[in-house]
């Protein structure tokens, strides 16, 4: 039966993905003025100096001479097969740019998430075990400071500390130049928020489990505290954390945008921001679409994963 539920959930996500495509399509048509000129990357002020033949060519190429509904359907069809047009700056297909940027972002997210999960879960467990004592207060202080620190500012502070004051880490996040070492600063920066959130959820979930009777039974039958905490309580407390990890995975995509740019890490976030600076509409559309679909898919993956782990949640 589980397979049917998963298939149903997959089908339900199709309208969402089409909706995201619609949003991205609308983005290109929100530009004040002619989308063909916008696709050429020219400001409205420069309208009169534009080569009309060039504009006409772009208009034809993008199909802007057709009715909007036709444009929409063909854009969506093209987007589905990964055809987003060409960047006007480099005249490289946008799909190629996205494809080149994707591995950096994915690697960054994986490293970040691993870091956030390890740090977050450890802090949460420490907090729960030492409830009401200094260990708890320290862990909770770290989490509230972590949640409240502006990511892009934290990136600058880390850069200042570890690339200038103590020059032990590379300032850019380009792994082709510096290897995995380049991932340390960016991933620490982005991991701050999710780690703090995971720590909170882990703490409250762990406290709930520790107050249950099974914990008393375990103590009564003489298990060591380590075994109770790390095996019995942990296993029962970790479920809510998995949901949070999933949602955070999606949030990381947003958090990574500014940080990738600061550390000049050649990922999707940098691609988006460079597209914005160059007014490269098609690159912006492509990047927004890919980031958002990835976001929606990772939420979907979490839902399915959660159904597999916890049979009670089968909606």
């Amino acid at each position: 039966m589980l397979i049917f539920i998963i298939v149903r959930r997959l089908i339900f996500s199709i309208p969402t993905i089409i909706g995201i495509g619609t949003l991205a399509f609308m983005l290109g048509h929100l530009t004040p003025g002619d989308p063909a000129i916008a696709a050429l990357g020219i400001d409205i002020e420069g309208y009169s100096n534009v080569d009309q033949a060039e504009v006409e060519r772009v208009r034809k190429e993008l199909g802007l001479d057709k009715p909007i509904l036709v444009q929409y359907v063909s854009w969506l069809g093209n987007a589905l097969v990964g055809e987003f047009g060409r960047s006007y700056v480099s005249s490289v297909p946008v799909a190629e740019l996205v494809f080149e940027a994707l591995p950096s972002t994915l690697l960054l997210m994986l490293v970040t998430m691993a870091l956030a999960v390890i740090v977050g879960i450890s802090l949460g467990i420490i907090s729960a075990i030492y409830r009401g004592r200094w260990g708890d207060y320290l862990a909770r202080l770290i989490t509230i400071v972590g949640v409240s620190t502006p990511t892009f500012w934290f990136a600058i502070i880390l850069m200042l500390l570890f690339a200038f004051v103590f020059p032990i880490l590379p300032i850019t996040g380009d792994i082709t130049q510096h290897g995995l070492k380049a991932m340390i600063l960016p991933s620490f920066t982005i991991a701050l928020h999710p780690a703090a959130l995971i720590a909170r959820i882990m703490r409250s979930s762990m406290l709930e489990v520790l107050s249950q009777e099974m914990t008393r039974t375990a103590t009564a039958k003489g298990l060591s505290p380590q075994r109770i905490y790390l095996v019995h309580a942990f296993r029962n407390a970790v479920n809510p954390v998995i949901t949070v990890v999933g949602f955070q995975f999606a949030n990381l995509l947003g958090g990574a945008v500014a940080v990738e740019f600061i550390f000049s890490l050649p990922g999707l976030g940098s691609l988006l921001i460079e597209g914005i600076y160059e007014k490269d509409i098609l690159v912006i559309q492509g990047a927004v679409l890919v980031i958002s679909v990835a976001f929606a898919l990772s939420n979907l993956a979490v839902d399915i994963l959660y159904m597999l782990i916890d049979p009670r949640i089968r909606l």
């Binding site: 620190t149 600058i156 927004v288």
Partner: protein, 299 residues
């Protein structure tokens, strides 16, 4: 649940009036030291923002190129920037701008979101299905990506920045309100309202919506911090508030260029941004524990 807790002391006495219950609830809220701290910090930051032009030791736009990049001193407590402008004064005026943008965006999100989500949840059916699909689509675009793309396309002027910041809030408020309305509308007293023939409008605004206030209040506090952060990130990337208007994000971005020899240019504005986020996050946490003790995971 809420009223039980508030009335526990006085349950043999006459039931206190609304105002007395509010004061009593407020007293309980403040008895937690962390809540008193976060409320104090919030009030302090708001006062600073309101009175910034009178507190600021120097005019925020007074340029003095020969006195640029000065480290913190008694004359300039946070030093000066590349144009010799006093950073403290700019940070203070910047707090005015950040807080008002945050407030406007949250108010827009609050009113539209609560109405959309509330009606959607109250009437249910196809409209609800449709509205929730739209909300889900908007929630799939990370907040900063949505804001960046919108501002990039429309241009970084104040109305568009506020629009870009509020769209996501609308969906967030809509989702929270819908959830709350769904659980409230099944209560017996709402059935009773229907039974005595009250109009939907009256039931919705007088009997359902006020009982959904707790999660909405909590979300407002968290969102304020969130919007201010997003605005700063936009400004940091050059897509938000433009020079010469002071904004924490632009100041941090400028300082980033001089990081190695004048770190104070970006450190101090960031510190203020951090304090603001801390205040609203702590306040949100405190309010959640106080108003909505069981709904911890909805925001």
């Amino acid at each position: 649940m809420k009223t039980d807790q508030l009335n526990s002391k006085s349950h043999n006495e006459i039931i206190p009036g609304k105002w007395a219950r509010f004061v009593e609830g407020f007293r309980i809220f403040l008895s937690e030291r962390l809540n008193a701290f976060s409320l104090g910090l919030t009030v302090f930051l708001i006062l600073v923002a309101v009175f910034a032009p009178w507190i600021a030791p120097h005019p925020y736009d007074q340029v003095n190129p020969s006195y640029g990049m000065q480290p913190p001193s008694f004359e300039h407590l946070m030093g000066t920037d590349q144009a010799g402008r006093d950073i403290l004064s700019r940070v203070l005026i910047g707090s005015r701008i950040s807080l008002s943008i945050g407030l406007i965006a949250v108010i827009i999100g609050l009113f539209s979101g609560v109405l959309i989500g509330g009606f959607s949840g109250y009437f249910g059916g196809l409209i609800d299905e449709f509205v929730m699909r739209i909300v889900e689509i908007f929630m799939s675009v990370p907040g900063i990506v949505m804001a960046l793309a919108l501002v990039a396309v429309l241009g970084p002027s104040l109305p568009f920045i506020i629009l870009a910041l509020s769209i996501r809030r609308i969906t967030q408020f809509a989702r929270i309100t819908r959830g709350a309305v769904l659980s409230v509308k099944q209560q017996d007293y709402v059935m009773a309202c229907h039974g005595i023939g009250m109009s939907h409008i009256r039931i919705f605004f007088i009997h359902v919506l006020p009982n959904c206030a707790a999660p909405i209040i909590v979300l407002s506090s968290v969102m304020l911090g969130n919007v201010i952060l997003t605005e700063s990130t936009l400004s940091f990337l050059g897509m938000g508030i433009q020079e010469p208007t002071p904004s924490w994000g632009t100041m941090i971005a400028k300082g980033n260029e001089y990081l190695t020899f004048a770190p104070w240019v970006s450190v101090f504005p960031g510190l203020f941004l951090f304090l603001t986020m801390l205040a609203f996050n702590l306040l949100g946490d405190g309010l959640r524990d106080h108003l909505d003790p069981r709904g911890g995971n909805i925001v």
